[in-house]
Subunit: 266 residues, 2 copies
């Protein structure tokens, strides 16, 4: 791991940063391929959108891009970008003059078994139900204790991802991924207006699904209705697309959607 | 401000700490009076309880107490203690071996106008409604974006605190304080089983209310029912107790509860 804070190589962050105190910031994680941040424009758009949603001024695209170039050179890896509201005093009130902190991390590509991509993954349903907060829904902010606790449920179990529902039992997402379910030529993905994180890969699939003759539909999906789907996939900007071959006691025999989606994404 | 991280004076924290990445930790803020952390046993109990609630092993009481002594000597001020899950890799999963990070901050006492304590404060109702997450309710964790956004609503307005309701319109708390409402000899405070932070001063008032012939009752309070209260107060471990003299368009003429509560707390 290496990191830059506000353009300087650094291993540590001011203890007065509001990211530490309150999770007062947003982030994005995706692949850099031989020095090129994949889908940079879309990733930056999301970063800037999410920052604006909570009143943080996002540093310019060129500034963050330069940090990535400096850290990665021609390397391949995972970049994580955090933009926080910056340093502040004690107390929730936002400083009159904001100086956002940008942190750019370089990580190696995670070593998931090849079978996850080739054959698919087995998923369980988390006991934790996501809380609903429309003002923060969809945003990839730094308040991620729900994801941490939901991930913890998988400890010692042989599942590759956990499915999270909301308090009404609607399917929302995986702990680190978005979900699509195909019903014939309809490609459903959960409504994220009350909770969840709207990933760049999810947006891309919504935009591009027509290329493989699927109609993307954003709507509430009840947990039990998921078992009627012909196929289910998970996606994010690091793993790409994983076919779901099992969910709790249910197994899917239809497969091929993940491969088709990967083809239109590349 | 000065701070110690894991027993060493420090201004900065590892960028790999999970407090930064996910708000994966808990905290407590209270007064140190001439070197003595007020109600230390209660504060430590809460810290350890909250840490355990999300699976973090809290450092021993003596260890944190020694940090406070080192930082404060005989000084008076505000101490803030953060315990995070410690450093981790990228990804939500909890490291097999946890090394929690403890951060102890020394701040000066905030300079609220004397009138807030002597006469009382005026409060508005925030537009933000708290999300409900029973697994995190009551815990003073580091995922505090709701409090940040709710505090922001007060910018430029002449209110001293913002009242937060849940999604059903129940009164929960102030952005930085707990609330009690007196109806004759009944002293109601909101049920925090779905959201909110349970402060040490709230616990103390519940324990000690009988000393001033009040019966403490924890229950749901609808926003409109608050106007029927004889008196309303706000409390936390830094401000003590503030009488609420106005809420939105409503004003209270009965006063004196804050003074009585301060007397039994000391």
């Amino acid at each position: 791991m290496s990191a830059m804070i506000n353009g300087q190589l650094a291993q540590s962050l001011s203890v007065m940063d509001r990211a530490l105190a309150y999770g007062d910031g947003i982030f994005r994680t995706f692949i850099v391929q031989k020095g090129a941040p994949l889908h940079w424009e879309l990733q930056y758009q999301k970063l800037a959108h999410d920052a604006a949603s909570i009143g943080i001024k996002c540093p310019p695209s060129e500034t963050i891009y330069a940090d990535i170039q400096h850290l990665f050179g021609d390397d391949t890896g995972v970049v994580k970008i955090i933009v926080s509201r910056g340093e502040g005093g004690r107390g929730y009130s936002i400083p009159t003059e904001q100086n956002p902190t940008r942190i750019v991390f370089k990580f190696s590509i995670p070593s998931y078994p090849e079978s996850y991509t080739r054959e698919g993954v087995v998923v369980h349903c988390c006991r934790l139900r996501l809380g609903q907060q429309p003002l923060l829904a969809g945003i990839k902010h730094l308040n991620r204790l729900e994801n941490v606790l939901a991930s913890q449920e998988r400890t010692g179990l042989n599942f590759q991802e956990g499915l999270m529902l909301d308090q009404h039992g609607h399917v929302i997402e995986g702990t680190m991924s978005n979900l699509f379910a195909r019903y014939q030529n309809r490609l459903l993905t959960p409504d994220l207006s009350q909770c969840g994180v709207a990933g760049v890969t999810r947006d891309q699939i919504i935009s591009l699904a027509h290329k493989i003759d699927l109609e993307p539909i954003v709507k509430h999906i009840a947990y039990n209705d998921l078992f009627d789907a012909d196929e289910v996939i998970l996606c994010n900007s690091v793993i790409g697309v994983w076919q779901v071959i099992g969910l709790d006691q249910h197994q899917w025999s239809n497969q091929g959607l993940a491969t088709k989606l990967k083809a239109i994404l590349n």
